[in-house]
């Protein structure tokens, strides 16, 4: 199996993302701002670092900005909460399986965390089973986590069950940590909302929605289409129907708006990612928004 982490690293190191990557590091570090003030070390400033963490005296001596680093920052725990149901194996808005986008999102955030010295764990599941993998700080561990996601999210796997997944998180995770929730466009219903509300009280939550494929998109108008939920085909004739299309788009916009509104109401930072190429900027935007919201 190809090393999933290699793909993550490649994505982060392509030219367009190089500048973003530094900012990601800084913004990521800022998530845990103010949780502990036990001084550990100073390090060079990177964009995104809190201005008030700058050690002005050290900066004056060095001639370039230095920030104070605190012990607590180094041993944060990040838990990737990933839906690995059959739905994730379905096509995303960009045409590739949503699983690939989800793995990239989890990989990028996990990799930054690992590089930052934090530990990364995984809670992944579907209607059949929810798996817990202990947080550890090694890249190899992160690779293993990503492999679990890839293995479980298959077309012949169990249906998705975001509710069960979040319930499991509520029951098992006691310690305060950063939860990176990676789910698809599934509507956020009342019950899910309740769970998210409980989680948001205790944890930092970064909510990443992997966009579903537009069923009626012209990109695959000529290809057969199968609904992963029941293996039933959706005839292309119906996908070309103009009236149906406008009704569908209307319904989609309404649903997406409602989901976003719910998350906004819960003050959960969220972002929607449609395709792999959008992952890095989207994750940066997400963390920025998260940090900004709390300031």
């Amino acid at each position: 199996m190809t090393a999933l982490l290699t793909r993550v690293k490649t994505t982060l190191s392509i030219r367009a993302h190089r500048r973003v990557r530094g900012m990601l590091d800084g913004e990521y570090a800022s998530i845990f701002r103010g949780k502990s003030h036990e001084f550990d070390d100073i390090r060079p400033y990177v964009p995104g670092d809190e201005i008030r963490d700058i050690d002005w005296k050290a900066t004056a001596r060095a001639g370039y900005p230095l920030v104070k680093q605190f012990i607590a920052h180094r041993k944060q725990t990040v838990t990737l909460v990933v839906d690995t149901g059959r739905d994730l194996a379905a096509a995303g808005a960009g045409g590739e399986p949503k699983r690939d986008v989800a793995v990239l999102v989890a990989g990028v955030l996990g990799y930054i965390a690992v590089r930052h010295g934090d530990r990364v764990g995984l809670i992944a599941g579907d209607a059949d089973e929810v798996r817990l993998l202990e947080p550890k700080g090694a890249e190899s561990h992160l690779e293993r986590l990503l492999q679990v996601v890839v293995e479980r999210a298959r077309l012949d796997g169990a249906p998705s069950d975001v509710h069960a997944l979040l319930e499991r998180v509520v029951r098992t995770v006691r310690k305060r940590m950063l939860l990176v929730v990676v789910v698809d466009d599934a509507a956020i219903d009342e019950e899910t909302e309740q769970l998210v509300r409980r989680l948001a009280v205790q944890h930092e939550i970064l909510w990443v929605t992997v966009g579903d494929a537009d069923v009626m998109s012209a990109d695959w108008a000529t290809r057969p289409m199968v609904d992963v939920a029941d293996d039933r085909g959706i005839p292309d004739f119906l996908r070309r129907d103009r009236r149906l299309r406008s009704a569908f788009l209307e319904a989609e916009v309404e649903r997406a708006t409602r989901s976003a509104d719910r998350l906004d109401a819960l003050a959960v930072s969220h972002v929607r990612v449609a395709r792999s190429s959008e992952v890095v900027p989207a994750v940066l935007r997400l963390i920025e928004a998260h940090n900004h919201a709390r300031r």
């Binding site: 739905d87 289409m225 939920a229 649903r255």
Partner: protein
């Protein structure tokens, strides 16, 4: 209705069944392996109220295509099988020779005129028949020989008819009929008419329309019965029209009986008549009688009937194209 190339039809049906089977099996085997797009939350589309409507329309179009395509192939298969209708006909033989054998003695003129007029009209319908005209009194004269030149025959018959009905006629048409020893040599007349048939080797029906009162006034070479036997030997039917066989002419009753015997002896029919206007209906009966006698073997006629399959095929093709266009749009 039946199919000529039934083997071909069966072949096509077998091929079609095989193709359908292969396609179904292949589809089943390759289900899900094709480049299908797998999507989640399809119910967001399928739960829309418009979806059920569109799906119904889609299924209807599909059903239309299926039915029409089946109909189209069925029509094609049937056409390849050559749809024919089989009918048996008893063809009326059109190879008849008719000699009008008219006694032109004074008493017969009205009847002759009717016979001539009727046959003049009949030439319109003739096709393959030949007609000839012999006038006799003491001797027989061929007015025109057996011919299928109907325009000519008609011209002759019409000219004769004009003479017969003209009270001031110069009797030129009867020239040469009085060269015998006496007049009204009926037996000689019939025998002469029988001799007018040519081409005796070919299979033709030969008949004589023989109009006379059989009142002999002179010395004949052949008597009427002898002439009848002669006709019989040549396989000639004689249809006799006798205006003399009426009560007012009782004195020649035995001549009438003789004529009836002779005529029926040849296999023909005999009519006694006292009104010239009855002639057309008698001629009609003569025709029928002949037709009865001279119908050929029943023939099986095979007629191609492509009209219905072709039209049905076109309709089905139109339906396929229309539904296909709606589906592909």
């Amino acid at each position: 209705m039946s199919l000529v190339n039934i083997g071909l039809v069966i072949g096509w049906v077998v091929v079609a069944a095989a193709v359908v089977l292969v396609v179904v099996l292949r589809r089943r085997a390759h289900r899900g392996e094709d480049a299908a797009v797998h999507v989640a939350h399809g119910e967001r589309l399928t739960a829309l109220p418009g979806y059920a409507r569109a799906l119904r329309r889609y299924r209807m179009l599909l059903a239309t295509v299926l039915v029409a395509a089946t109909l189209l192939s069925a029509a094609a298969v049937i056409l390849s099988g050559r749809l024919v209708s089989l009918t048996t006909v008893q063809p009326e033989m059109r190879n008849r020779d008719i000699v009008l054998c008219l006694d032109v003695s004074g008493s017969m003129i009205d009847y002759d005129a009717q016979i001539v007029e009727t046959f003049s009209q009949l030439t319109e319908e003739f096709d393959g028949e030949r007609i000839g005209l012999v006038l006799f009194n003491a001797s027989a004269v061929t007015s025109f020989p057996l011919t299928s030149d109907y325009a000519y025959a008609r011209e002759q018959l019409d000219a004769l008819h004009a003479d017969l009905v003209d009270p001031d006629t110069d009797w030129a048409f009867a020239n040469g009929t009085l060269l015998g020893n006496g007049s009204s040599m009926i037996g000689d007349g019939l025998a002469s008419c029988v001799m007018r048939f040519d081409d005796l080797d070919t299979e033709r029906s030969r008949s004589i329309v023989f109009a006379t009162d059989n009142y002999v006034a002179g010395e004949q070479i052949m008597t009427l019965p002898e002439a009848g036997e002669f006709a019989q030997s040549k396989d000639v039917l004689v249809f006799g029209l006798n205006p003399g066989d009426v009560e007012s002419l009782d004195y020649i009753g035995e001549f009438a009986d003789e004529m009836r015997e002779v005529v029926e002896g040849t296999g023909g029919s005999y009519w006694a008549l006292d009104d010239p206007n009855a002639v057309p209906s008698i001629v009609e009966q003569v025709q029928e009688r002949q037709a009865e006698r001279f119908t050929g073997e029943p023939i099986l006629v095979v007629t191609d009937e492509p009209t219905f399959p072709v039209l049905a095929g076109f309709a089905a093709l139109a339906a396929v194209m229309f539904a296909g266009w709606r589906l592909r749009r």
